[in-house]
């Protein structure tokens, strides 16, 4: 419960640990046509230790989702390098080391929960039998607390339950890392809280590495071990904040004075991140 390291903007961390599952170095992303080129991300250095829970937070338009897509191999950086478990993100994804969860659960409406949970695994591994896929799907549904909803179709499930199925679908791949882009963004506050708690339980039970993109200060502090703050114009990591609160955490952690202090600190960091990076 002591140190929190605040890294100044642009400052590169020189210590590269050996147990980093994800490491991005000098990643920049430029998008748009030749006439209208836009620098989305500038010079991102990020390392995520194995088994860690890291959040990316920042104002909308700061490129935090783009950064997650870079880590997932869905967007290739214009410069810089990214490695996930020692290989490129695209290769890591094909080796089923990356589990993705988006804000929209994107379930297949014609399949029930258990078939949705095993859908990606079935596409990735053509050799698995239907029964084996079902069993895996069921196992994952139980892990996310939906064991008895296996035969329900998405339109019979609530928003929170659909998102649980989406998490089960990502976990079914048995990935090394779970990349989540505002997974609880479309849910109401009460559902958000219980989803956060479930995510923490899943994290502690499975030991997966989790990178969470969020715009909720409370969520970032409640869940993660480290928070990276992104600034806007261009998107870059301005500051990082370690969250020294002990695990297991439950919702009562929000009442701890330390939590309140961290919220204030993160809020201050976010406010300063709104200022453009290039002094004009």
């Amino acid at each position: 419960m002591q140190v929190e390291t605040i890294r100044p903007a642009g400052g590169r961390s020189t210590h590269i640990r050996h147990d980093d599952l994800i490491s991005a170095k000098g990643v920049s992303v430029v998008m748009g046509t030749d006439q209208n080129r836009q620098l989305i991300l500038r010079d991102i250095d990020l390392s995520v230790p194995k088994g860690s829970f890291v959040s990316l937070i920042g104002p909308s338009g700061c490129g935090k989702s783009t950064l997650l897509k870079v880590l997932a191999g869905l967007v290739s950086p214009s410069s810089g390098s990214v490695s996930v478990a020692g290989v490129s993100p695209g290769e890591a994804a094909r080796k089923r080391m990356i589990g993705l969860v988006f804000q929209d659960a994107n379930l297949l409406p014609w399949k029930n929960a258990v078939d949705n949970a095993s859908m990606l695994l079935g596409i990735a591994d053509k050799s698995m039998s239907r029964a084996a896929l079902r069993a895996r799907g069921q196992e994952m549904l139980e892990l996310v607390g939906l064991g008895d909803a296996a035969h329900k179709r998405p339109n019979e499930l609530s928003g929170g339950m659909r998102q649980r199925v989406a998490i089960a679908r990502a976990l079914a791949l048995d990935p090394a890392v779970l990349l989540m882009d505002e997974p609880f963004g479309a849910l109401d506050a009460i559902t958000r809280d219980s989803m956060g708690q479930s995510l923490l339980e899943i994290w502690q039970r499975t030991g997966k590495t989790i990178v969470l993109v969020t715009h909720s200060i409370d969520e970032a502090i409640q869940l993660s071990r480290q928070v990276h703050v992104l600034g806007i114009n261009p998107g870059r990591i301005t500051q990082s904040l370690d969250i020294p609160l002990p695990y297991p955490r439950d919702t009562s952690v929000t009442e701890v004075p330390e939590f309140v202090r961290l919220v204030l600190q993160l809020r201050t960091m976010l406010r300063s991140s709104h200022e453009p990076g290039d002094a004009t």
Binding site: A72, L74, G90, F102, N106, W110
Partner: protein, 271 residues
């Protein structure tokens, strides 16, 4: 299809079961009966000649008197519609699959399909008679060119409206184009395809009648044309009534098919 949501609007609160069905159909039935009565009265009061506008009772008499001929013609036309409709749906689906799966072929085919859509296809009927004679073939051909397009277009729209993040999800685990097509795109397109199929069912009826107008020795279209040359207007109306019944029957058959194929789809027309 569009009258049911309208009926819902006029319903102040949900009424359950039989009552709901009755109260949504009753106004339409009453209006229909009133129209028939007024029609009958107008024809009698103004003594309109039956070969210009026959009274409903005249039409009913003709329907009963010519029942055998009319039924035989109905069976012929129904056969043409069913066969033509099935061919249209199969060709329409195949075309959509080819356009989506083979990119270069799609880019070659799609503009031509859209261009062809602007040809007034009814005008093709005499050419089809010239090529295929007076039998079943020209009718099937005409139904096909009229009805395949909504099938192809609706299926394409359904296959191309798959959410991008879902695609990136399956792409990230290395899904093949064939897997994406048959596991994601095709099932995703089914609700849209079924909507197109219902339009094709209606267009198939038009195709069959136009085909029979252009040249036939049987069928309801032939009866309509023959009766009108004989100035037997009650028979024309009787045949028209049966054509409408066929149209409604095919439409509802397509709707039942929709409920079987896509029970999971959001319902647009719930009574």
């Amino acid at each position: 299809m569009s009258e049911q949501p309208l009926m819902n609007l006029s319903q102040p609160q949900p009424v359950s079961g039989w009552n709901a069905a009755t109260s949504s159909w009753l106004p339409a039935v009453i209006l229909l009966l009133v129209t028939i009565v007024l029609w009958e009265a107008a024809v009698r009061i103004f003594s309109i000649s039956s070969f210009i506008v026959p009274a409903p009772s005249e039409i009913a008499k003709s329907l009963v008197a010519q029942w055998g001929t009319l039924m035989q013609a109905t069976v012929v036309t129904a056969g043409e519609i069913l066969f033509g409709f099935l061919v249209s749906v199969i060709v329409g689906i195949a075309l959509a699959l080819v356009i989506v799966r083979f990119d270069w072929l799609g880019r070659a085919l799609y503009p031509l399909v859209v261009l062809f859509q602007n040809v007034p296809k009814v005008a093709l009927a005499p050419i089809f008679i010239l090529w295929f004679g007076y039998g079943l073939a020209p009718k099937i051909g005409l139904i096909l060119v009229i009805a395949f397009f909504p099938v192809t277009l609706s299926m394409l729209a359904g296959m191309q409206s798959v959410d991008r993040s879902l695609l990136s999800l399956v792409n990230s685990v290395g899904a093949s184009p064939t897997q994406i097509l048959f596991r994601i795109r095709v099932p995703h397109s089914l609700p849209s395809l079924m909507a197109g199929t219902k339009i094709a069912a209606t267009l198939s009826v038009i195709g069959a009648i136009v085909g029979e107008f252009a040249g036939a020795s049987d069928g309801l279209g032939y009866v309509i044309q023959f009766a009108s040359t004989q100035l037997d207007t009650p028979l024309v109306f009787a045949a028209l009534l049966l054509v409408s019944v066929l149209g409604i029957a095919f439409y509802y058959a397509a709707e039942i098919l929709e409920r079987i194929v896509v029970p999971w789809a959001p319902k647009f027309s719930q009574a």
